[in-house]
Homo-oligomer: 215 residues x 4
DNA sequence: CATGAATGAGCATTCATTCAT
DNA sequence: TATGAATGAATGCTCATTCAT
């Protein structure tokens, strides 16, 4: 027979209530963030306002300040979220293989998928709130790891004679720039519909791994 | 005796006056645009306002509406200006040689120099007001020509066996993305000081012409 | 055998519990008032808010309304407290001697000490919430007694030929005004540092008891 | 025959227009200040808001910022006005006689009349915005002159054996405090109706010149 | 006894825009 | 050609207060 849990009924009730409340709170928080990112995508960074977020979720403007300290905290939370989700996937891609070319390919693919799949987060992270990178590192340890992973992948690739040898940082930067440019064009440029963006991305991946010039 | 110009004195006076007026008008217009781009650079897209432009040039806010229909027209004019200046240089780079590799290199260099040298215009053109591309083409024929030049350069390069053969558009897009990414990182990312940006750019140029992988 | 107390155990338990509860309740109340007066001192009347009081004592804002009907009641309670503490001291000074001049001197000293020692209460009582005096007298009998004491002291002083004879009320008012003015300047005027305030106060006391003009 | 003014008709028209405009502008400015001081008297310093000022004068809130930089400038303008008007009268009283006792009496009367006649200005100057005194002296030379006049009058009075000899500053401070206290009570204390205030003021004047104790 | 969630009103301020002059 | 005056809407934010739990 299953042993009775040591908590009293009252405790469990309270816990249930607490849990339900916490969950509800979490839900509103999520709703805020979701509305924020939707609005941000719709009207751009400049056209995003606390008031509109509130209206979108059907609450009064003041309520946002119950969940977030101020507008920036909403935005930076999105950025944090972005870095956290992105960081995980990027790390998994990094660890998924030891083949240098394949690893670079996978990391690039993850990068592009993330950027194109979460354009609001991506824009905030890498275009609108790059001051995020100036904040104390302690708060968000993810943000630096990411670039390190790329550098190490590049280092490996050079070691395995997969990449043209050269300075580590500038090579990583260039790779990053290529991926970044693809995402930017894909999510911001009119004319870059899904198919054109996809074609560009595929071509970029090919070129990254095979080089631009004929072997 | 000095030959009489065919126009009457009155005509000339009127013309002079007209010219002077036009010139003055042009000067104010230029002042507006210059102030606008300075403010945009200083305080970002969001921090740019008609009022501040007016104050900066020492006029009242209303005057802007004599030269421009509204705020957007000011911004789009900056974009037009950007495309026009950029287009010229890009064209000159295109025409400066028939060597496909060298031509690509020169075009890339012009692109990067323009972006990093006119970050306000660049951001407006390629990041903040990409809805510019949705406007009727007739108004500004420059904006498309540019990409055509790149496509033709790529086509040539493939023909001369300088670039890995493949789809023209997606290859051009990828090149564009690489350059665009470099400019974006260089002008927006904290940590990308002059030297790091320069190193990245040089590396990118090398890789674009020599490929990523060892020959 | 120990004599049974007349109350039952249950009663005592209840009483204990009640007492403890009352005591706790009293403690929270006190904490609220203390925090309120601290905040008022720190940020001024305008900068004082229920929210900040709550935060300062580590409770939720709502709890204030369990102890006080509304914001005004918090403030008026502070005023009451002020009048109560002040009234006691003032009365003691009044009763401490029968010498009219000495009595006036002691009462004045107590007044000044209270005002300068409890500037938050003083400001509330005599500057910010003078509407307090419009409330029904029954609630707080202290507030009027105080002025009566001064009047009686003045009456005595005139009887003992210590003060220039004249109307009782206007003379008392004038004395009050002098003391009030000293406190006001001392606690509000930039430039009135401790030493200047002290010098003024001492001089005022001298002049009040010896007169302004040479004998 | 009166000589034609050298200005052309157009110039005069323009000037008229300019004058009329300036006058109108001045009128709105005055209306703002007047509304501000009325509201301030009605609802206290804390209850005074730009919005309400705008509503009171029948304009939109934004217009205030056309005439004043911000809320503080409105308030400080009132303070400046107060000091300017008060300073003049105080100076005139100072200069109106060489009899030391009479001079002190007149200065005191002017002080009291100003305070009770312009309670909004007075409160701002001496109770709510005493930070005014911390501003650079250059901006408002009046504010210091005032106290100097009092000191000099006191000095004279001591020299003429009209005031009990003693420290100049603390004696002036005490006199100031007395007058200040009278004004404070008169304009803020419920119960101080006109007659009581007047009686107090008269009594204070008597005591200031004749001393508190019987000769 | 205390909280957490929420509101609605208010605040100072800025802005793009208009229009009579 | 240019201004000066004005508006109305928007913004981020704070607050006193309420109430179900």
């Amino acid at each position: 027979m299953v042993k009775q849990p040591s908590s009293t009924r009252a405790e469990r009730l309270r816990d249930n209530s607490r849990n339900r409340r916490d969950q509800q709170k979490q839900e509103v928080r999520e709703a805020i963030l979701q509305a924020a990112s939707a609005l941000f995508l719709e009207h751009g960074y400049a056209g995003f306002s606390i008031r509109q977020v509130a209206e979108k979720i059907g609450y009064s403007p003041g309520i946002i300040y119950f969940y977030f300290a101020d507008k920036d905290e909403v935005l930076f939370t999105l950025v944090d979220e972005g870095f956290s989700r992105f960081g995980e996937r990027f790390l998994r891609a990094f660890e998924s293989t030891t083949d240098a070319r394949e690893r670079l390919l996978r990391m690039a693919r993850v990068y592009l998928e993330f950027g194109m799949g979460h354009p609001a987060h991506y824009q905030l992270m890498f275009m609108q709130r790059t001051d995020y990178f100036l904040r104390p590192v302690l708060e968000n340890p993810n943000k630096l790891r990411t670039f390190d992973l790329l550098t190490r992948a590049v280092e490996d690739a050079m070691g395995q004679n997969v990449l043209l040898p050269g300075d580590l940082v500038s090579t990583s930067d260039t790779l990053w720039a290529t991926l970044h440019g693809c995402v930017c064009l894909a999510i911001l440029m009119p004319g870059f519909d899904e198919s054109r963006a996809q074609a560009m991305v595929e071509r970029a991946l090919t070129l990254v791994t095979r080089g631009l010039h004929p072997g």
